[in-house]
Symmetry: C2
Subunit: 392 residues, 2 copies
């Protein structure tokens, strides 16, 4: 069994529970005598080439437990994609420090990076165990029933929609919220959990899995407005036109891409404004408001799902357990085994790396709603929702 | 002592605790035998002219207590401003139902409406006790130390900034959030409560009380970025240029005004995009992100300050107590009497009506920060903030 140091790092967009996975790795790794010590790399792979390490071996448990509760990526994140040259520098830094286990916490792109590092290590003859630990609010990692980070973000979305639905009932009109999700609509779809009574919003949900037509959108909103005198709409930032091009990118002055080729969709109100303009031009509805939820979806303090929190901890622990018990590399995946129970398995890195899962047809109802099957799917992943009551 | 029915209504933007005040009125009014019954008007004064009333006299306490916990205005809201003709219709509906007490929960414009109703009732010879019950997340009612609704919204802002600060520390760059507040910067200023360590954001806070210069803004951001490699900025939606004109209104294609003459500043990402463009044109900073917080600030489920919740209930109760014990009209005001203690007083409607309080000079530090005095002021009004911990 491989003796050496553990190195843990985080990449991609932070979540409310990504530090649970970090602390899961640290505390589990400390239990194993074959692991000399536990290092953290600052800002993902970027910190490895710079040998920018923090020794986490003796960090007190109470400090670690506070970090676990803290949103954001405590070690810092990156969107760097390593190539062969980048990896060679990483292995030099790793060799110098006798790092033999690498745990990389992140989403699709992070799994791709982990897979590259794994392949390059083999090629370079550097003995290294590489593990990808899942994290993404987009919930779009293949093979996984769901991903750590999603349940908490879904809770944020549901709590946000309970509020904006009641706000919209107080001051009726059309309300649109743009929700994160580049290719997969899971997070936008979670807005359905705000719906208690039949006339509650969201009344319409637009997902990247179905092509979006402005004409149909106008008609849908007008129909709901005619029925209830108001309309609450959830729109994914990733909605695409009939050519499959994200509408948000059509609106951008300059396309901002990261190293993985992802176009930046968040942090702009352009899509929301387009939808408002379309409604203003084609309906007589007076009060139209739009919000782009932005970064609060993944960082808001004190909005977590306890199930998500627990699972985020366990994927970190499991990765270490697999790494020391079996002489393999891989990506930890979550399988749903009952209603509700899960188990953790190990998948080859290449099977997960860079792939994107989208919502299955059974979760989608028509072109503007989600199904009851989706409600059943997401309910056990959610955090606490306070009870609300309406008079109107 | 005046015998008759109580009518309660809500107006203006909803908050997380406005229903506490509603339930405070209902439960207190039910205790007094001289009050025949308690009616609610749907959608504020608009519901009065339409005689659109709900009898709340026998609504079960458990239902009321759930409504009290629910964000939004449970009776519906309005931005209508009544004139003489409007009031005469209101008095006809009131007379028909023997309504002799009118409690109107809302902010500046609502106090103005209450004052108009009061004056017109005297003019029309309709015997009516009129009370304004304070509510506003903007915290800008004169004579009040603070306003119900503000403490919960301030908690939302602080929790949001804890998150975006950590997110920005994970993926460094410039992050800007646009916060609600038409004329007063209290809510934007509350972002300071997210700052634990000296290098935490928000690093810059721009308030409507100081004129905003794009040149100075670029310089401020660049200075912080040079120091920390990142910069988190809180900007009020109401920031004004050196002519005192809100910058957001300069950017609007069409100016949307309500009956009170207020320009709509929320629900558009234009100000945030302008600030991003200014930074892109004048600095070399690569990663610049902006969010416009929007309606979540006043409606998000499960983000309340217990102090705010308690005081919102008490201003409703107090209004009824004053109305039956003393034969007067007025606006309930909150005075701070200690650190921390308050008392409720009654002020003439005309002293509060339509006036706006802004942040005093002692709460502001320079042109881009708030003072320690502001932290001391806002701290006792805030709700729970979970503990966080940083490694970086």
């Amino acid at each position: 069994m491989l003796k050496g140091k553990v190195l843990v790092a985080q990449a991609g967009g932070p979540t409310a529970v990504i530090n649970q996975s970090l602390v899961g790795v640290i505390l589990e790794a400390r239990k194993h005598p074959e692991i000399e010590s536990v290092y953290g790399a600052r800002f993902g792979v970027r910190g490895i080439v710079k040998e920018d390490f923090i020794d986490l071996s003796n960090m007190p448990v109470d400090v670690l437990e506070r970090i676990a509760q803290t949103p954001g990526s405590a070690l810092g994140s990156t969107r760097d994609k390593p190539d062969e040259e980048y990896c060679i520098k990483m292995f030099e830094a790793m060799k110098k420090n006798n790092i033999r286990y690498f745990f990389y916490i992140g989403g699709n792109d992070t799994s791709a990076s982990a897979s590259i590092v794994n392949d390059q290590a083999k090629k370079a003859g550097y003995e290294l165990r590489v593990f990808h630990i899942p994290k993404t609010i987009d919930n779009d990692l293949v093979l996984n029933d769901h991903c750590p980070g999603f349940g908490s973000a879904a809770t944020f979305i549901a709590r946000a929609f309970v509020g904006v639905n009641l706000d919209n009932a107080s001051l009726p009109g059309v309300y649109i919220a743009i929700v994160m999700g580049r290719h997969a609509g899971f997070l936008t779809a979670s807005s359905i959990m705000a719906k208690k009574y039949p006339d509650d919003g969201p009344h319409l949900i637009y997902l990247p899995e179905r092509s979006f037509s402005k004409e149909k959108f106008v008609q849908d909103v007008q129909n709901v407005y005619n029925m209830y005198g108001r309309c609450v709409v959830a729109v994914s930032e990733g909605i695409v036109d009939n050519e499959g091009i994200p509408i948000a990118t059509r609106l951008q002055k300059e396309i901002d891409r990261d190293a993985h080729g992802n176009v930046q969709l968040s942090g702009s109100g352009a899509l929301g404004e387009l939808l408002t303009d379309v409604l203003k031009a084609n309906t007589d509805i007076k009060r139209i408001r739009v919000d782009t939820f932005g970064y609060l979806q993944r960082s808001f303090l004190g909005c977590v799902s306890l199930t998500d929190q627990k699972e985020a901890r366990e994927v970190g622990q499991k990765a270490v357990e697999f790494s020391v018990q079996e002489d393999v590399d891989g990506s930890i995946i979550i399988k749903r085994t009952g209603d509700y129970s899960i188990q953790y398995e190990l998948a080859p890195l290449a099977d997960v790396a860079g792939k994107t899962k989208v919502m299955s047809d059974e979760f989608i109802a028509g072109d503007n709603m989600v199904s009851d099957a989706f409600r059943d799917y997401v309910r056990p992943l959610m955090g606490e929702m306070s009870e609300v009551e309406r008079i109107l």
